[in-house]
Amino acid sequence: MAEVLLAAVSKVYPGGARAVETLDLAIGHGEFVVLVGPSGCGKSTTLRMIAGLEDATSGELSIDGRVVNEVAPKDRDVAMVFQNYALYPHLSVRGNLSFPLEQRRHHGGILSRFTAAGRSERASIDARVDAVAQTLGITPLLNRKPAQLSGGQRQRVAVGRAMVRDPKVFLFDEPLSNLDAKLRGEMRTELRILHKRLGATMIYVTHDQEEAMSLADRIVVMHSGRLQQAGSPIDVYQRPVNRFVASFIGTPTMNFIPGRVAIDTGTHSRSAERGAAGAATSAGVFRHAGGTLALPGNRWRDITAISGRDLVLGIRPDQLRIAGDAEAMKIAQKGDHPPDPNSSIICGVIAAAEHYGDRMDIVLDSPSGRFTARCPPVRVREGDPCTMIADLSAAHLFEVGECGAAIALS
């Protein structure tokens, strides 16, 4: 177990490409931290700097209180699992697992098998390898060569090679990206269990936000070399700090609607009736190309401050649902008034309907752009007009721009 501290760490490649920009990150004892972001966001570079495979251009990197900027990879007591497994093809599984230990032998060399010290060391290496193989369930594979293993088995051996050294920190560089979806899910669970069992500090890099969400104690979202947000998966999902994080985390991607906030006195009076929190702030409406959406009064800290500004409204797909026939009729009769002050309607035409058995994704083309809704399966036809009801109680507002900051929630 160990603490990993990155203080203003930057990496500039010789060509001038800035891979990581003044990154500050503290990773606690036994924490499982996942660095996530699109390719080229600097997450792998960050991991490789912790490993010592890349030098930090500036900043300070420390493991367990010791600054390791100038320390060779082998002396940092970290182990890494590579995306391509990086098993030595000429060695058996046993050879691969004992490879890191051979280097650390005190009584190695050609003559070691003839000396008592050498033999007992050999025996302890074998015992260690056997124990790790047992943990990972790869004992029957010990005498095989990597070429004779399946992807999942190779991945286990790669993890075993990291475990065998009992390092302070485990580094994973997209270790599951070469596996098929089903195996990936299984390995994810196993890694999570392994982390609980070993209690070691683990730093994991992936571009797959779902993998990040499922594995992490804490997610670190990166984009163009900068840290965007670090927090628990739930925190990052529920309170994204900017539009990039909001769009990157969650499947399908959050819906974004450009528009403008205006204070609506009618909604205000209704939300005031609902409770004290709502009464404290004015409720507003969000005017967009396809109509007006009522914003819940108590969601944002100070909605009057942002009134009149161009913003982007973000709605998760699971907060959109198809209005039932009766509901749609009611809406049609009432005009533009939604059935609930926190909800609003969006009208459009169904562009695509994707079925997943237990749920479905409906893509709606509306005057305000394209929306995706995730809802229980219903019978719809592509090309049909459709009314969706948006639950805005968990909606977000962002400044304009790819990384536009989130408007503070209350």
Binding site: A51, G52, L53, P73, K74, V78, A79, M80, F82, Q83, N84, Y85, A86, L87, Y88, P89, H90, F99, P100, Q103, R104, K145, P146, A147, Q148, L149, G151, R154, R161, R165, N178
Partner: protein
């Protein structure tokens, strides 16, 4: 059709070998007659004279059997050390060129390749003077020591091969605590087995059959290698009477090359990573 062409080619290539074998089994008069043209070439020995073989080997050199055994020992020592030296030094240098970053790497590599363009005959006299200065003339050292300084062609071959080994393997080994020499010995060299096989076979055959080097640097009979000893045998017995003995001795000399070639053949074609790295 392709098969017929191949068969024809093979027959033409193998005919001299067959002729050698036949001649080596003939009696002195029969072989002599065929060489002078007094009698046509026979494709089958009338009566296999297996005794030609021990006789030929025994007659090599001035002392019965001693000449052959000395030459065999010398050739074996030289060839095995030259193979070891070439493989170790060439792969080590190639590893540096392929995997380490250092200043003027490209320039040095070009310079190294340029030495391949230099004809061997050009450096013959300077080398001889150098070895004479070192007092190595009439020892096996001039034949062995240069091999430990790499061979441009094999360095080139190793480098091309090692450049293809996935970087992750080296990174993994670095994290496991291996330095540059460890990376070379534990990762690069074992994975370059096909190149090692090729290098070993070609170096062995070249060295075993090398005639000029030993002829120049070696003087006393006890230092001779087989290729040169065979030549001594020829001037002694290369008269038309004893062509059958020459052929017998030549065939014995060839055997190790053939064995080594067939033994190493299957490694030539072996692929690089064999599944250790996916993607």
């Amino acid at each position: 059709m392709a098969f017929l062409l191949l068969a024809l080619g093979a027959t033409i290539s193998l005919f001299p070998l067959w002729w050698m074998t036949v001649t080596s089994l003939q009696s002195a008069s029969e072989a002599g007659a065929a060489v002078t043209g007094a009698k046509g070439l026979s494709l089958w020995p009338h009566e296999a004279q297996v005794d030609n073989y021990p006789e030929a080997l025994a007659q090599m050199g001035s002392l019965r059997w001693q000449g052959f055994l000395d030459a065999l020992a010398n050739s074996t020592v030289v060839a095995s050390l030259v193979v070891t030296g070439t493989v170790l030094s060439s792969s080590l240098v190639a590893f540096a060129f392929a995997r380490l970053r250092f200043r003027a790497r490209g320039l040095l590599f070009t310079l190294m390749l340029a030495t391949m363009m230099l004809p061997g005959q050009v450096v013959l006299i300077p080398l001889f003077l150098l070895f004479r200065y070192l007092g190595w003339v009439d020892t096996l050292l001039p034949l062995i020591v240069p091999a430990f300084f790499g061979s441009a062609f094999f360095i080139f071959m190793y480098r091309q091969f090692m450049a293809q080994i996935p970087e992750a393997l080296f990174e993994a080994a670095r994290m496991d605590g291996y330095g540059p020499i460890g990376l070379w010995w534990h990762v690069a060299l074992p994975l370059s087995r096909p190149v090692t096989a090729t290098t070993a076979v070609f170096t062995f055959i070249w060295c075993w059959n090398d005639f000029l080097g030993p002829l120049i640097y070696l003087q006393s009979e006890s230092q001779m290698t087989l290729a040169v000893a065979l030549n001594g045998f020829r001037s002694q017995y290369g008269g038309l009477d004893d062509v059958h003995l020459l052929m017998a001795a030549s065939i014995v000399t060839m055997i190790p090359c053939l064995l080594i070639f067939f033994a190493a053949q299957r490694h030539f074609v072996e692929g690089l990573s064999r599944g250790g790295v996916k993607g």
